[in-house]
């Protein structure tokens, strides 16, 4: 069961998932210039992880990223977002765009917008890790074969 899909699907996934991941990071990085942003980029990056889990099966995918790694990156993204918010106190208050007060950069270039770029990256990490971890946890239940009776007997309580 956990061997995954046919070799055609596996080879295609091997080729494509890298491109999907890079595309997701690109959409998140240029969120302040063109449409997209951290949320769309995070979901696209999670889609690359979902592709790997679907094509190769859960046990092979766990050699690449484990659930505990996903939890770690998820919390790290959220924590970094809070750190950026707290650093705004240097310029006046909570969540103030302190980099824009120092140097705004040119509108339309990559390094503009101040903390918007950093926040987009934090949101990217957070959303991607959260969704990849959730899908990994959901894929532990792929088979249907467990009946209700088995679980009742094991748990010790009657249905």
């Amino acid at each position: 069961m956990s061997e995954g899909m046919t070799p055609i699907v596996k080879n295609t996934a091997r080729l494509i998932s890298g491109f999907i991941a890079v595309f997701g990071i690109y959409i998140a990085l240029t969120g302040h210039i063109s449409p997209g942003g951290g949320f769309a980029g995070g979901v696209i990056l999670a889609a690359a992880a979902v592709l790997i889990v679907l094509a190769f099966g859960r046990s092979t995918a766990e050699r690449i990223f484990t659930p505990s790694q996903c939890h770690l990156w998820d919390a790290a993204g959220a924590g970094l977002f809070l750190v950026v918010a707290m650093l705004g106190y240097f310029s006046g208050g909570f969540f103030v765009n302190f980099i824009a007060h120092i140097s705004k950069g040119q509108v339309g270039k990559l390094f503009s917008g101040g903390t918007i770029l950093v926040s987009n990256l934090c949101i990217l990490i957070k959303v991607a890790a959260g969704l990849a971890g959730a899908f990994l946890a959901l894929s532990a239940f792929r088979r249907q074969g467990v009946d209700a009776a088995d679980i009742v007997v094991e748990g010790g309580q009657k249905a």
């Binding site: 449409p35 997209g36 809070l82 824009a100 509108v107 946890a137 959901l138 249907q144």
Partner: protein, 200 residues
């Protein structure tokens, strides 16, 4: 002028897809129909001038479809639905409340004397000038000054990550809690299954 007709047509497609998803007996068809509704919605977002939303809606819809198909594809529950008389009463009451909602919405849109509280389609609060009866919203300020105040060209990103960043913090918390809830629901059973698999 043509834009409204396109949006109306796509809304009709979306409504038809939702009705099919709700009424059909086959679960796989139901899930695919709701996926079609989601993709129609993303095209509607594109036509209404919201490209960020269109991108996000497309990828979110793809992942939702994968999740839903994961749920139903190996779980064959072929028996039909059972129905009790109390269900019919509950359904009737909720549909009555829904009808009251529609009437209230109609009055909000068209108004008692032809003046509704929701602005007509195509003239948002943003479009009022400073001397009107309705004061212009703060969005005109954001549009005019986001480039010089934040340096970002995408005003929507500037709104959610600079002007209204606190709301984004709340939203990140909600996603965190939802994913945590999914882990908590799945956790115990997963461990039991793993020990059973390692026993065999």
């Amino acid at each position: 002028m043509g834009m409204e007709y396109l949006v109306l047509m796509l809304l009709g497609v979306m409504l038809a897809a939702v009705l099919i998803a709700v009424e059909t007996d086959d679960l796989l068809s139901s899930v695919i129909a709701i996926g079609a509704a989601g993709f129609a919605l993303s095209v509607i977002f594109l036509l209404l001038g919201a490209p960020d939303l269109a991108i996000t809606q497309v990828v979110v819809e793809a992942i939702s479809l994968v999740l839903l198909i994961r749920l139903i594809v190996t779980r064959r529950d072929t028996t039909g639905e059972t129905e009790t008389p109390r269900d019919a009463l509950r359904t009737a009451l909720v549909m009555l409340a829904g009808g009251v909602l529609i009437c209230g919405a109609y009055f909000a849109l068209a108004g008692g004397q032809g003046k509704g509280t929701i602005p007509p389609f195509g003239q948002p609060v943003l479009a009022h000038k400073a001397g009107d009866a309705v004061p212009p919203g703060v969005a005109a300020d954001y549009l005019a000054r986001s480039a010089e105040q934040t340096g970002a060209a995408n005003v929507v990103m500037a709104v959610i990550l600079d002007y209204r960043a606190y709301d984004t913090l709340g939203e990140a918390t909600i996603i965190f809690v939802a994913i945590l809830g999914a882990y908590a629901v799945l956790r115990r059973l997963g461990r039991r299954r793993d020990t059973r698999e390692s026993d065999q």
